[in-house]
């Protein structure tokens, strides 16, 4: 908002040569006064148009390739269901949540909403999502049992998992080779092995190749660590389920790596974090290990141009129990305010249970949650995704259980853990203080559950 100052008032009158006041003709203002038309855009969710076709809105986040594919899926569905028209409503991840919150607040939520576990309870607990188990058109019987109940809360099903992925360590085989360091045996490595290995890589390459990217920015890594100790980030009831010792220990690992220069410095880590997956130490060929979800393997392989291998988390066999878990990559939910919940359920059923949709989506929304569908498309996956699929089926036997949906406010943990990790990285907090601050802030954000 920058206004222009009146630089000198225009003199409406000036002296003419004979010294008498003369009027200058003034502008006649007519236009602009009543010409302000307020176009109120009304877009009712799920309106039936005149030809008896039900119109539904479907929202998702993602990049261009996902939009194109999803549009194809919609066309397939419409061809098979001429009585339903699906309107896409898509944007990128960060603005997706602002947009969803505001449209939900306005009573104009999309009929079918793509959800993420951190936000599912946010919407579900506040009555914004329909109970999918009450809808006849949606078959939930074929969903992988490891994620089948991940969208359940208080006896209601607020979301159905689109697919599964797991949090892993990705290792650049060429970086290991360059450092002359053996790849770890991920069936037996411990957390100490992880630290030593990263330190060794940094030392032998003289810092040219850093051992590992910081793991302190994502609470998923801590979730695994806590589960290995028989604890968890959140309990069923949404309270915090870990001890301060465990969290302190987890932060200490990062501290040790920082001190040994086995991971990028604090300010480098901030930069890497801000760049997202495209700026990871693997993507830029400047490091040997990084922590990612399995469905990011394709993207990491492509940007690095190197052979990237998936590793089970350290400590899986050396701690009290295995901590890795399958995460529902996303959820499909139906708005509680939808006027056509059954039609919406038919579409969700198509997305989750049909081979046609899976052949297009492939592993983009995680490896399909429907086990039959997963088996059907496994052979059609691109190379990296195929390896993810093999990896997931390999570890399936070791996974003990899933996680309850995070409590309301879990979306804030993303920022809390970044801030706390930064403060520790820049030396303002010890691992112990970082653990205290994290717990304090998460408790405040989630209101203790």
């Amino acid at each position: 908002m920058r206004a222009n100052p009146g630089s000198g008032r225009p003199q409406a009158r000036d002296l003419s040569s004979d010294g008498r006041l003369r009027r200058r003709p003034l502008l006649k203002i007519a236009a602009g006064v009543g010409a302000v038309v307020l176009a109120a855009t009304a877009c009712g969710g799920g309106s039936s148009s005149e030809d008896g076709v039900v119109e539904l809105r479907f929202s998702w986040w993602g990049a261009d390739d996902r939009h194109a594919v999803t549009q194809q899926v919609i066309e397939e569905f419409e061809a098979a269901n001429p009585d339903i028209r699906i309107v896409g409503d898509y944007t990128d991840w960060s603005s997706y949540w602002d947009r969803l919150a505001t449209s939900t607040a306005a009573g104009d939520a999309p009929d079918i909403i793509t959800q993420e576990e951190r936000y599912l309870r946010e919407y579900g607990d506040r009555g914004a999502l329909a109970d999918l188990s009450q809808l006849d058109s949606l078959d939930l019987s074929k969903i992988d049992p490891l994620v089948a109940e991940s969208g359940d809360m208080d006896g209601q099903t607020y979301g159905v998992a689109t697919g599964v992925n797991a949090y892993t360590i990705m290792a650049d085989t060429e970086a290991f080779e360059a450092a002359g360091v053996e790849m770890p045996d991920d069936d037996s490595w411990s957390w100490d092995d992880y630290v030593d290995l990263a330190t060794e890589i940094s030392e032998t390459t003289d810092g040219e190749v850093v051992g590992t990217q910081s793991m302190a920015y994502n609470e998923a890594g801590f979730q695994i660590f806590a589960r290995q100790k028989g604890e968890s980030l959140y309990n069923e009831d949404g309270t915090l389920g870990y001890s301060q010792e465990t969290l302190t220990e987890w932060f200490s690992i990062t501290q040790r790596l920082l001190e040994a220069e086995a991971q990028p410095s604090a300010s480098e880590s901030v930069e890497i974090e801000a760049l997202g997956p495209d700026g990871s130490v693997l993507a830029t060929n400047s490091g040997a290990m990084a922590h990612f979800w399995t469905n990011q393997l394709g993207q990491q392989t492509e940007t690095s141009g190197h052979e990237i291998e998936l590793l089970r988390y350290p400590g899986e066999s050396t701690e009290d129990r295995s901590g890795m878990y399958f995460k529902p990559a996303m959820f499909y939910s139906i708005s509680a305010g939808s006027e056509h919940p059954e039609e919406a359920a038919r579409f969700v059923d198509f997305l989750v249970n049909s081979n046609e949709a899976a052949e297009l989506i492939l592993a983009d929304r995680g490896l399909p949650a429907n086990i039959d569908v997963r088996g059907h498309i496994v052979s059609q996956l691109p190379e990296a995704d195929a390896r993810s699929a093999v990896f997931l089926s390999d570890i399936e036997g070791t996974i003990e259980d899933g996680n309850p949906p995070p409590p309301i406010g879990a979306g804030e943990v993303v920022n809390i853990i970044k801030r706390v990790s930064d403060e520790m990285g820049f030396g303002d907090l010890t691992p112990e203080e970082a653990a205290e601050q994290f717990t304090e802030e998460v408790e405040a954000a989630t209101q203790g559950g």
């Binding site: 100052p5 630089s7 602009g32 302000v36 307020l38 939900t104 009555g127 914004a128 300010s267 480098e268």
Partner: protein, 321 residues
């Protein structure tokens, strides 16, 4: 010298009500009314917008600031709870501190630079329109996402700045990703958008009659003396205008901090501007009631500053009457 300044400058740079005008006689009352009508006509679109687009949300946000509105579910009246919570919210206090530092450092620097360059351009440079446009460009772009991204690149660990420093054998920091420097880069970004106040200063400088300077030269005044005793006093309305506007703008800065910090206000809250924190509360944690209360606090702060500015202006702004 001072006798000179008792006379009105030829044209008032700011459209203050000129008291020196003869009382309009009955004969030109009609003209006056027509003139007013014209003004109202020009104001109408903005006014309609205010009434229909701004006023409603404004009042709604005032109401919501007394509730625990979370955007999605029901909301209930909580009285002054949001306001009392602000007293305890350390991150809010930090965001105020960050914002104040930003305003009080970047605005004076920006205005000083704008005035300095306006003086240079006022000397009459060949290709003045070109320079004017070139210097004005950053103002048009400064608040944009593209520039904020560029800033990340320039001040990044391997960015332009560090490459230049490296040329001299200096190992630079990752400026935007270090808590001690990140705010500094945003201050520099704001100073860099000095074009808008500069163009306004330039217009103001053009209004100062040359004869004052000539008379001062005859009296043997040096350039510094002329600057302090002619340029500055006659420019005070313009300085005042720019000051008020830039302070209001600086308080509301959002885009740059949002992009440069990747929406986090990081590293470790060092660029957590008030507006960014408000946004995180409202859309990140769905605490729209609290965010509304924060918005009203910001309004009060900006209103307070503007009021103080106007009150203080009596003592230093010179309208030549």
């Amino acid at each position: 010298m001072s006798a000179l300044l008792q006379r009105r400058p030829k044209a008032d740079p700011v459209a203050a009500a000129p008291a020196a005008r003869t009382k309009p006689s009955a004969g030109n009352q009609g003209a006056k009314r027509r003139e007013n009508l014209a003004a109202y006509g020009f104001l109408a679109p903005w006014f309609v917008g205010l009434l229909f687009i701004t006023a409603g949300p404004l009042l709604a946000s005032l109401y919501f600031s007394f509730t625990d509105y979370n955007l999605i579910g029901e909301h209930s009246w909580v009285g002054l709870e949001n306001y009392s919570r602000m007293l305890e919210d350390e991150r809010l206090h930090n965001s105020l501190r960050v914002t104040f530092v930003y305003v009080f450092v970047s605005v004076p620097l920006q205005l000083a630079l704008a005035l300095a360059l306006a003086m240079v351009l006022d000397r009459g440079v060949r290709g003045l329109p070109l320079y004017r446009s070139v210097y004005y460009l950053p103002s048009l772009l400064g608040g944009s996402v593209a520039i904020a991204i560029l800033w990340r690149q320039v001040f990044g660990a391997n960015g332009l700045i560090n490459q230049v420093l490296g040329f001299f054998g200096i190992q630079g920091e990752g400026w935007v990703s270090h808590p001690d420097y990140a705010l500094g880069t945003l201050i520099v970004l704001n100073v860099w958008t000095f074009g808008a106040p500069m163009v306004i200063f330039l217009a103001g400088l053009r209004q100062i009659p040359r004869m004052y300077y000539e008379a001062a030269s005859v009296d043997g005044a040096g350039p510094l003396y002329k600057f302090w005793h002619i340029t500055v006093p006659l420019l005070t309305p313009i300085i005042f205008f720019n000051l008020v506007l830039q302070i209001i703008n600086a308080f509301q800065t959002f885009t740059q901090a949002f992009i440069v910090s990747g929406g986090t206000g990081g590293p470790s809250d060092s660029t957590m501007f008030y507006t960014l924190y408000l946004y995180q509360r409202g859309f990140g944690s769905f605490e729209m009631g609290y965010a509304s209360a924060m918005a009203w606090l910001l309004l009060m702060i900006i209103g307070g500053f503007t009021a103080v500015n106007f009150l203080a202006s009596k003592y230093w702004v010179f309208y030549g009457d």
